[in-house]
């Protein structure tokens, strides 16, 4: 008999006119990992906050430890053993690991003076529980993301947590770190904890989850044991759309060579890179972090000029010494970290879209007419399916997927010939990912040459016609994707000793 720890029954919640949750139920059992999946804005966060006591539902009930109530207060939730690890971990980067771990306990104790020995003791105990070996005297700001997460988990366990809610815990972790996290979470499960794992990386969900709850537009759309679901099922439930699976055979794939790279070398980053991409073709580049793939992209875009070798665009050798050279030659680049490098987060969507082609929108004496701007931007908003109330909203207010669409839109507005995408779908949800993929393929159909750099093998197989594999700064293998799936690709890459 499974023991029920927390049950949320038929809760609804609305903010203003928006119905965030409608008649949603979820039950958390002892010794179980439940995955909560859904696209951004489906109500996942609202549900978490209701369980944590940070929000009160409009209707429905919550049952904690056999006791029924209409809502929880934050303190009640903590006393009932419910702990939430938010995406930002809620840690203090300037304090030591020990103090981060112990500060809540000391605060609850109502201590006025600091007892450093006590803090050390609490922290040692917390680390021991989890079997971690992080230096307690280190400042949290100096830790890697994975270690910060470990500290956050240890901190949650200090409060005799029975239910651990983790909000997108794998977003910033590497493959290896995700494996470690999964081991820890599985261990906690075996010790009888209930874990609610909020995520939208489907592969991870299928790997770690015992049971799955899918939300869409604030409603339960599917629930059940994890093995009942396939990747395709999850996508269908999350988006309400069917995933289209094959690369579009682009009409122009026999087009003229758009970019030709010969013997490109940058010391310490990559060497003797040669490849070409025809107009209308989508070529993937993959490889581990540090394989030189990002550096290559940066060189092609003039950010880190290559030491030797040549780049030809449309048959002409181009000197690529700066971003201005690259843009003039018709190269567009969508960076890895879109907020840091790609978008002006505080600026409006419309300004972000036109920024790279500003001079072409400007009229007499560089004057930019706002109405003209709006007319230019409107079709882009619709075309890219950017979901925002207005083009004047700041980019920072959008979800990751929509931000990525804005950055894409900006380069499309410059009418580039070659588009280089670096991890275009990292951290964005399935529906937006499908939109981005469809957009990329559409662009290729129109004759743009696309270079797609990605870790996501499924994405590469689905979108690209050809994949280049980089290892230690060299291209070591080339695949055609026709008649290949991601498992096959993973196996082949595994053979070359590059992935896994």
């Amino acid at each position: 008999m499974r023991q029920e720890l927390v049950a949320v029954n038929h809760v609804s919640k609305h903010f203003g006119g928006v119905q965030a949750l409608r008649d949603v139920s979820v039950t958390l059992y002892r010794g179980e990992i439940r995955c909560l999946v859904g696209e951004n804005g489906c109500g996942k966060s609202t549900l978490i906050k209701i369980i944590a006591g940070a929000l009160q539902p409009d209707a429905g009930e919550i049952v904690v430890g056999g006791k029924q109530c209409t809502h929880l207060e934050p303190m009640e939730a903590i006393r009932a053993g419910i702990q939430v690890i938010y995406q930002d971990f809620s840690l203090f980067p300037n304090l030591t690991v020990a103090e981060n771990l112990a500060i809540n306990t000391e605060l609850e104790r109502g201590a006025r003076l600091v007892n450093w020995r006590n803090i050390r003791r609490i922290a040692t105990e917390a680390m021991r529980k989890l079997g971690g070996d992080i230096d307690l005297g280190k400042t949290v700001g100096e830790l890697s993301v994975a270690d910060k997460q470990l500290v956050a988990i240890s901190k949650a366990l200090l409060h005799n947590a029975k239910v651990l809610i983790m909000d997108e815990p794998t977003t910033a972790l590497t493959h290896k770190e995700v494996k470690t996290l999964f081991r820890i979470v599985t261990d906690l499960k075996q010790r009888g904890m209930s874990i609610l794992f909020v995520n939208h990386k489907l592969q991870e969900i299928l790997e770690i989850g015992d049971t799955i709850t899918v939300l869409r537009n604030g409603q339960n759309v599917a629930e059940g044991e994890a093995p009942q679901f396939s990747h395709g099922d999850l996508v269908r439930h999350m988006t309400g759309r069917q995933l289209q699976n094959r690369p579009v055979e682009t009409a122009a794939s026999g087009g003229a060579t758009a970019i030709k790279v010969t013997g490109l070398t940058r010391k310490g980053a990559f060497e003797h890179i040669s490849f070409e991409v025809r107009a209308g073709e989508i070529v993937g580049i993959t490889g581990l972090l540090g394989s030189g793939r990002t550096e290559l992209a940066l060189s092609l875009f003039g950010l880190e000029p290559a030491d030797s070798g040549s780049i030809e665009i449309g048959g002409q050798v181009v000197r690529m010494r700066s971003v201005r050279d690259a843009i003039r030659a018709g190269i567009a680049y969508v960076p890895e970290d879109r907020l840091a490098e790609g978008a002006f987060a505080e600026q409006s969507i419309e300004r972000n879209i036109v920024i790279s082609g500003l001079s072409s929108f400007a009229r007499l004496a560089g004057w930019i007419s706002p109405t003209h701007l709006r007319r230019v931007v409107a079709p882009w908003m619709a075309n890219l399916r950017i979901q925002a109330p207005s083009a004047r909203m700041p980019v920072a207010s959008l979800s990751g997927g929509n931000q990525q669409k804005v950055v894409l839109g900006r380069w499309l507005a410059t009418q580039a010939k070659v588009l280089i995408l670096n991890g275009p779908t990292v951290g964005i949800d399935v529906g937006a990912k499908m939109d981005v993929h469809a957009k990329i393929q559409e662009l290729a159909c129109k004759g743009m040459a696309v270079v797609l750099i990605s870790d996501d093998l499924r994405e590469l197989v689905e979108v690209c016609g050809r994949i280049l594999v980089m290892h230690r700064g060299r291209i070591v293998k080339e695949f055609q994707t026709t008649g290949c799936d991601d498992d096959g690709l993973a196996a082949e890459l595994g053979c070359v000793g590059i992935v896994g």
């Binding site: 930002d88 971990f89 809620s90 840690l91 203090f92 980067p93 300037n94 304090l95 103090e99 500060i103 809540n104 000391e106 605060l107 609850e108 201590a111 006025r112 003076l113 600091v114 700001g141 100096e142 830790l143 890697s144």
Partner: protein, 330 residues
């Protein structure tokens, strides 16, 4: 050992010692007892202000109104005591100035804690307001005959000794106030939950709120405390100068903030120690007071101050960035 070498305080102490050695070699007068006492005396006002600024910076805020609060408290207190024809102890002057400073600090705190306004804006505004009220409504004349208690206090010295040329020298009692305040702030920041909460606020305000720290109460404390220290510093200044000049103090804000930042406090909050601040104050005061012994013209003192700030904070910031980046790679 490596930890010690990496610490900003160690680096700062080394620079200060090197500077002292250099100045002393060039002009042995620097090594005299009376010069040391002079330096201590000059450090007191900057030091008291700096301790307040340290607490604000650690909490993630900034205060540029402390000098205006100091001047206001000093002048109002002096005029009040004179008007009352008060002949008692200087303790009353300190108390009165402390209370005035505290109230003005709380005025800042209300805007920061309840209206959630940016601290720089609030204190820029209030600095101008306090100075305007002082000069416009209270007076612009310099008080040259301070209340008796303050005059007596200013003459109190310890470790008196007579020099070869017959003059006597001693350490001013006001320096004791600085030492006491430094110990107090040190204990506050390191040993109380109030202090740790201030660090927590400066590190991650949202997390501090989630953890259950009472942010508002801390902000009231922080700005009130800065005001209190500034009031006391104002009286010390008047005693040192033997007059109360309403035009004084304002203008030294940047020097004080520079001393605190030089001492390793992060302008973005969450970092800073009392030891560092004290060292930073000594370094700045040594530069300002002693380059004159080397015949360095006073404008060049500003150049040297600027260079020291840029170089020393630059080096620590760089080494910290490298350490953090090193972690990011593995």
């Amino acid at each position: 050992m490596r930890k010690l070498l990496q610490r900003h305080e160690f680096f700062l102490a080394t620079i200060t010692l090197m500077m002292i050695a250099a100045i002393g070699l060039a002009n042995p007068v620097f090594y005299s007892l009376s010069n040391l006492f002079d330096l201590c005396k000059s450090s007191t006002v900057v030091g008291l202000f700096a301790l307040g600024v340290l607490v604000v910076l650690v909490s993630g805020g900034i205060d540029v109104s402390f000098a205006a609060i100091g001047a206001f408290s000093m002048y109002v207190t002096s005029r009040t005591l004179l008007a009352l024809d008060f002949h008692g102890s200087a303790v009353i002057a300190f108390l009165l100035a402390g209370i005035i400073g505290l109230s003005l600090g709380l005025f800042n705190a209300v805007f920061v804690a309840f209206f959630r306004l940016p601290t720089l804006i609030v204190t820029l505004g209030s600095a101008s307001l306090f100075r305007g009220l002082l000069l416009g409504f209270i007076g612009t004349t310099i008080v040259n005959n301070l209340p008796e208690g303050m005059v007596r206090f200013s003459k109190l010295t310890m470790w008196n000794s007579t020099l070869a040329n017959g003059t006597t020298t001693g350490l001013s009692w006001s320096f004791l106030l600085f030492v006491l305040a430094a110990l107090l702030v040190g204990l506050l920041l390191q040993r109380t939950m109030l202090g740790r909460g201030i660090y927590a606020m400066g590190g991650n305000l949202v997390a501090a709120e989630r953890a259950g720290f009472n942010i508002r109460r801390r902000q009231l404390f922080i700005y009130g405390f800065v005001g209190l220290l500034s009031g006391v510093a104002g009286i010390v200044h008047a005693c040192t100068m033997r007059n109360a000049n309403p035009f004084d103090l304002v203008g030294m804000e940047l020097n004080v903030i520079a001393a605190v930042v030089l001492g390793g406090a992060g302008i973005t909050g969450g970092r800073g120690t009392v030891l560092g601040t004290v060292l930073g104050v000594f370094l700045i005061v040594t530069i300002n007071n002693s380059l004159i012994l080397l015949d360095v013209p006073s404008y060049w003192q500003k150049v040297v101050t600027g260079l020291v700030i840029l170089v020393s904070t630059g080096i620590t910031a760089r080494s910290r960035a490298q350490r953090v980046r090193g972690v990011g790679l593995c």
